[in-house]
């Protein structure tokens, strides 16, 4: 029974991690930006979903819609107010832009956190699950929401895969991540592509944030930790590698679940952190990273 329980819980949490980190890796892969306000995007979406769905009583579905919209708006704000002005700034030397994007998004994360705790609350809340209730699966009782979360995450991952590999737009995104200059030479406006990828990022972060909020609960205080988790997963998998991110999410998800069940819930983060340090020492390019 315990084995099955670990398998189910581990699967759900890993899938959620994968979805949560995917936007982070996508935006790095395509536009080279490490968004240190990533956790902020997740929590804003969850908070809005909670507020609209529970506090205003409009139900889980409208709440989720509002949450995704909030994710898109926040992603656009991150890009248009923070990232793009820094990238286009004339006063910031070119080789220091990366650092300024890091510092800028870091500050933006702090701002999001403070705005959320001011407008809403800083105590943890839980987003209304799309499907309430408990399911008995082969003798293991599990919240239905856990299955829904995993299912939605996989559907979203699948859609993203289709988008990238089966559409013209996806090809452009892929090409931009490999060689932006080449894409310019073929007559594609990079500025348009970046705008597009930030919108996709907003949708991904919105969905991930809402699912996280219904599964684990959320709070403005979680923002730095969420950014840290996403960063760790993405680096473990190899910066910019989508398949690496998925793989790393499952590695970390299962290690954490195993540790929580078999050792102690209070130690659940430790083995993953040690693994991360080991990987960085031995294979700095990440588990599936190239180079």
């Amino acid at each position: 029974m315990l084995v099955l329980q670990i398998l189910i819980d581990g699967f759900a949490i890993s899938t959620l991690y994968a979805l949560g980190a995917l936007g982070f890796t996508l935006i790095f892969g395509v536009s080279g930006v490490l968004n240190l306000a990533h956790g902020g995007l997740l929590v804003v979406s969850a908070m809005i979903a909670y507020y609209v769905g529970t506090r205003l009583g409009l139900g889980a579905y409208i709440g989720a819609g509002a949450g995704i919209l909030a994710g898109i708006v926040t992603a656009m704000a991150t890009y248009l107010l923070i990232v793009r002005p820094i990238q286009r700034s004339r006063v910031i030397p070119a080789r220091e832009r990366e650092l300024f994007v890091l510092t800028g998004t870091l500050l933006w994360g702090v701002m999001l956190q403070e705005m959320l705790s001011y407008i809403f609350t800083d105590t943890p809340i839980t987003v209304k699950p799309l499907l309430p209730g408990i399911v008995d699966f082969l003798g293991v009782t599990t919240p239905a929401n856990e299955f829904i979360t995993a299912a939605i995450s996989w559907v979203v991952l699948g859609c993203l895969w289709l988008l990238v590999n089966r559409t013209k737009m996806g090809k452009q995104l892929l090409a931009a991540s490999i060689n932006p200059r080449g894409l310019t030479l073929l007559g594609f406006e990079l500025s348009r592509i970046y705008l597009l990828v930030w919108i996709i990022y907003g949708v991904l972060a919105g969905i991930a944030g809402i699912l996280l909020g219904s599964f684990l609960g959320t709070s403005s205080e979680f923002i730095p930790a969420l950014t840290g988790s996403a960063f760790s997963i993405v680096v473990l998998g190899g910066l910019g590698s989508v398949s690496g991110t998925l793989f790393a999410a499952y590695v970390i998800g299962y290690i954490e679940t195993l540790t929580a069940y078999l050792v102690s819930p209070s130690l659940r983060n430790v083995p993953a952190l040690v693994l991360l340090i080991l990987v960085l020492y031995i294979r700095p390019q990440g588990l599936l990273g190239r180079r």
Binding site: K168, K171, Q172, L174, A175, I178, N179, R181, G182, L183, T184, L185, L186, G187, F188, E189, L190, S191
Partner: protein
């Protein structure tokens, strides 16, 4: 000149990167008071040899001896202390310190406990700076200096520790003709002081006037050694020396001066010039990738401010020397991206036509672009540009680093293109034998200026002598 034992003695130097052998058993001697030119096209391994001597890369085999002291495998800083200095082509100076402080850096001891530079070191730095022609700018910040002075500063740093051997990477890239003369004179003073100087460059021509000997490399091996005249006359060198690389010097170097260039509709114009002559810069200016003064008229209208992508969509399509392929995408995907601006039917028709022009791409359609050979990648890059249905196709150094047999195929493809379509082509080449046969008109570019223009049949008589 070759009196006594060599001061730097390299034997059997070999370096492998994975499966690629970049340097194969190179032997080389360098005497005090001698300037040796190490030349070779891009990818010939000459830069790797320089890095191996400096310890930036570790050799797999072979020995590097400086006055009987074995240096191979030692860390860079020890090699520098043993008496070898290097002038990098691109390096980042300390930008918040003055020129004097930058030179002083080269004189500091490698100790954690040394806090304040002593006065003799400061005086020494000043005199080195003055000798290198920096006397008037010693108290300025590097950012305020022209490109040539930055190069002088790098020279000053390299000789600060009074090295016996000085390695100079591309000594004249990005300099104007008058600057070249003063730099050559400066490097000759290094020789006269009894140092051994190794100049690393693409072409014999640029260093021929000042070197005592030349060593030519190709694909990691030595192919000729001797006086500049001997090496130029060497049949192997002449055969190999078709390709060549092009380093563009962005940033400080003024790459172009008052270029007037006209390309008529359906014309094939070749721009011939050595490395660093300014071809790529010119093309990038036309493509809107870098800012430039002056005006560009396209189809009767003076072009306003447009993004590079809009310029490409308007019909000026560049196939850059760096190819800029999407390495992890398949050949087919690379081509499809070029056709995305057209309707599906147009794009498919164009694709079929191109696959007939470059049949090899058809058999490689599903392969990732980065797994193609150099020649196939070049064909893909050209084909991808042609997918855009350009009115003007800019080809920048398409022959770069390609084997002669591939050149033939490329040449055939260009002939077909000329004969069967309305396309206008602007070709930038270092390789004259490739550039001339197709051209209606030829421009020769040198140090950012057009020094000759005319029909190809007059090139050999009027401009050819200055070339190779």
């Amino acid at each position: 000149m070759n009196n006594g034992a060599p001061c730097l003695e390299v034997t059997g130097l070999t370096k492998r990167f994975g499966g690629l052998v970049a340097v194969k058993g190179i032997d080389m001697n360098l005497h005090r008071g001698e300037i040796l030119g190490l030349i070779g096209p891009n990818g010939s391994g000459k830069s790797t040899v320089m890095k191996l001597i400096m310890g930036i890369e570790r050799p797999n085999e072979g020995s590097i001896r400086l006055n009987d002291l074995e240096l191979a495998g030692k860390p860079t800083h020890q090699i520098a202390r043993a008496g070898i200095g290097i002038v990098f082509q691109h390096s980042r100076p300390l930008h918040r310190q003055t020129v004097l402080e930058n030179i002083l850096l080269g004189l500091l001891p490698d100790r954690l406990t040394s806090l304040i530079p002593d006065q003799t070191a400061i005086d020494q730095a000043r005199s080195i700076g003055e000798r290198c022609g920096l006397g008037d700018v010693l108290n300025r910040l590097p950012a305020s200096l022209p490109f040539a002075d930055l190069r002088r500063m790098e020279m000053a740093k390299a000789i600060a520790r009074d090295p016996q051997v000085v390695l100079v990477d591309e000594p004249f890239a990005g300099l104007t003709s008058s600057e070249v003369k003063t730099f050559a004179a400066l490097i000759e003073t290094f020789r006269d002081e009894g140092r051994a100087v190794l100049l690393v460059d693409h072409n014999v021509k640029s260093v021929a006037a000042m070197v005592d000997r030349v060593l030519a490399m190709y694909l990691g091996e030595k192919i000729a050694e001797g006086s500049a005249a001997d090496v130029i006359a060497d049949p192997t060198v002449r055969r190999v020396y078709l390709g060549g690389g092009l380093e563009v010097f962005y940033g400080k170097a003024q790459a172009l001066e008052n270029i007037d260039l006209i390309v008529h509709e359906r014309e094939f114009v070749s721009i011939v010039g050595l490395n660093g002559a300014g071809k790529t810069t010119l093309f990038n200016a036309i493509s809107g990738l870098i800012p430039a003064r002056g005006s560009i008229t396209w189809q009767g209208d003076v072009r306003g401010k447009q993004t590079p992508a809009a310029i490409a969509r308007a019909g000026i399509v560049q196939c850059p020397e760096t190819r800029e392929l999407f390495g992890d995408m398949s050949v087919r995907e690379n081509l499809d991206l070029g056709g995305q601006h057209q309707s599906k039917a147009d794009s498919a028709e164009r694709l079929e036509w191109l696959l007939n022009l470059f049949p090899i791409l058809k058999s490689r359609a599903g392969q990732a672009a980065r797994t193609l050979s150099g020649g196939e990648q070049q064909m893909l890059a050209i084909a991808r540009a042609l997918m855009m249905r350009p009115k003007l196709l800019i080809l920048d150094e398409p022959t770069l680093g390609l084997a002669p047999v591939i050149l033939g195929q490329l040449s055939d493809a260009l002939t077909i293109l000329r004969d069967t379509t309305d396309i206008t082509v602007l070709l930038g080449e270092q390789n004259v034998t490739f550039a001339l046969p197709h051209a209606d008109r030829v421009y020769v570019l040198e140090h950012g200026r057009i020094i000759w223009q005319g029909p190809p049949d007059r090139f050999a008589d009027e401009a050819g002598a200055a070339y190779l």
